[in-house]
């Protein structure tokens, strides 16, 4: 009987404590700055082109084959009258967010620091009606960093 009373005492003390849950859609938890959502591509503001040269390193490193990369000759290269030193540049890039397992290996594999894990956009709230809508193409991948809307930690 003593034990039962003790259990009831514990629950009653919890009754008097403050609830620990939040009303979720109204109040969001602040994501930590190391937060690791889906990979995005970074934008070289000084040359107005992506950092990515389409070298296939991330595509090869990806354990789940969620990336497809196609490279092209850079029209903005110095030899062509442009400003950039990149001979090759990314032509098309797809990441299938439905397949990505957010393992961070593509970021480690990249030699140009052109890809990073997003930490502002809460990837866990991605929901679409068609699975194909989760396949992101190059403009979508670049949009966030191009507009400057990203936390510093990602790029550093």
């Amino acid at each position: 009987m003593k034990g039962i009373l003790r259990s009831m005492g514990v629950t009653f003390s919890a009754f008097l404590r403050k609830p620990v849950t939040r009303p979720y859609p109204d109040i969001h938890k602040k994501l930590p700055e190391t937060g690791r959502a889906f990979p995005i591509l970074l934008w070289d503001q000084s040359h107005t082109e992506p950092y990515c040269t389409g070298c296939h390193a991330c595509e090869r490193a990806c354990p789940v084959e969620c990336m497809s990369v196609i490279m092209k000759d850079n029209p903005n290269h110095i030899n062509n009258g442009g400003t950039s030193k990149r001979k090759k540049i990314i032509d098309k890039f797809w990441i299938d967010y439905a397949r990505c397992m957010r393992c961070n290996i593509c970021v480690e594999a990249c030699n140009f620091e052109a890809i990073a894990m997003n930490n502002t956009w809460s990837g866990h709230e991605t929901s679409v009606y068609d699975r194909k809508d989760l396949i992101m193409d190059l403009p979508q991948l670049l949009a966030q960093h191009r507009s400057g809307n990203i936390d510093e930690w990602v790029t550093s």
Binding site: S7, A14, T34, R36, A61, P63, C103, I105, N119
Partner: protein
């Protein structure tokens, strides 16, 4: 006088418990044949979560495999990663920076805490408390997972350990955050203890139920808290120390009877030991490197084979790695604790009541991702 002990003729019926059942802890199916409320036979069916992790890892290089370890043992991811990473390091004969080792130890023990919280909560619900232990333990587990998220960036599939150290260093406020979380965990353990351990109905439901003695438990190859509850003093952290467990002072908790209560109580005490270990580890934490020098991105191991076992929350998590000199395993075998522990279920369940079957299954704390791989 008539014979009052005359048996009434009864009919055995088969009850299909699972794969969709609230207390099979995943997609586990057991076919119970019952006579009234008594269980006379049990057939276990596993494999509903079989994803072929071993075969998949054989097609991937060593770093890519880490993510798959997370997905086999999804309640103690750090422990699973540790076994795998240690196997690769052993083949490579790598020297790991000291700081990385200590951080690994802290994370592994924190993960043990969170896994045991999960166990105690789910176990309380199996016993029939309306959600309370589950919510209390999840309250604490949430804080632990928040901490993991701050460190690794992910809440569940961390992919944080690398062969040679860690993917990156922990945040600056790591130590103070760990202490903060430990403080709340202690409160959580106290709550669970008060809620369950002395409750008479809980004792009546768990004591003398699902007993397995030491000899049987060893014969079935059980490990971890389930084995220690039977009174076997076997903890890989003590028997074959890895990381820096030989420099740390902690006790191996053993039970006496190997019943359900002991399996619960051993885990509860182990949580207290884990807190003790983490507190000692924090003192050893010095600044330094977290990734070894030779840890290149695409590792190529010399040919050879290695069997690494570590003490995961559920028991021995072994990785048997055979390499033929390529950058990927030739054969990878995951020896999961749940797989061996679950085999012994039949011995424990037959002869008890239906309500006990649920409690016994809860007490051996299986993770189906680890059992099926």
């Amino acid at each position: 006088m008539t014979d009052i002990k005359k048996e009434i003729e009864t009919q055995e019926i088969l009850v299909n418990m699972g794969p969709q059942h609230p207390s099979t802890h995943g997609v586990f199916r057991m076919v119970l044949s019952i006579d009234g409320e008594l269980i006379t036979d049990l057939t276990a069916h596993i494999g509903y979560l079989h994803r072929g992790a071993e075969k998949l890892c054989e097609t991937m290089d060593y770093r890519q495999g880490i993510g798959f370890m997370d997905r086999t043992e999804y309640l103690a991811n750090f422990n699973a990663e540790l076994s795998y990473v240690m196997a690769v390091e052993k083949l490579m004969n790598m020297e790991i920076p000291e700081r990385a080792q200590w951080i690994r130890m802290i994370l592994v023990e924190l993960n043990r805490l969170s896994s045991h919280f999960m166990f105690v909560g789910a176990f309380g619900v199996d016993c029939g408390v309306f959600g309370t232990p589950f919510l209390y333990s999840f309250r604490e587990r949430e804080r632990l997972i928040d901490l993991f998220e701050e460190i690794t960036g992910d809440r569940m599939m961390y992919a944080f350990f690398r062969a040679g150290g860690l993917a990156w260093d922990v945040p600056v406020n790591f130590e103070s955050r760990v202490e903060e979380v430990l403080l709340s965990s202690e409160q959580g353990i106290k709550d669970m203890d008060g809620l369950l351990t002395q409750n008479e109905i809980f004792l009546a439901r768990t004591k003398q139920i699902g007993k397995i003695d030491a000899i049987d438990a060893i014969d079935w190859g059980m490990s971890g808290p389930s084995l220690r509850a039977s009174g076997v003093d076997y903890d890989i952290r003590k028997a074959e120390p890895y990381l820096f467990y030989d420099q740390i002072d902690f006790d191996v908790i053993t039970g006496k009877n190997g019943d359900v209560f002991d399996r619960y109580f051993v885990r509860l005490q182990e949580m207290r030991e884990s807190i003790k270990i983490i507190k000692q580890c924090l003192k050893h934490l010095n600044p330094g490197k977290t990734l070894a020098e030779g840890a290149s991105r695409n590792l190529r191991t010399p040919p050879g084979e290695v069997y690494i076992r570590t003490e995961a929350p559920r028991g021995e998590y072994g990785i048997y790695l055979v390499s033929n000199g390529e950058n990927r395993p030739y054969r990878l075998k995951i020896r999961s604790a749940g797989f061996s522990n679950l085999q012994a279920l039949k011995d424990m369940v037959v002869g008890s009541y239906i309500a006990d079957a649920v409690v016994i299954l809860g007490s051996i704390d299986i993770v189906l991702g680890e059992v099926d791989r």
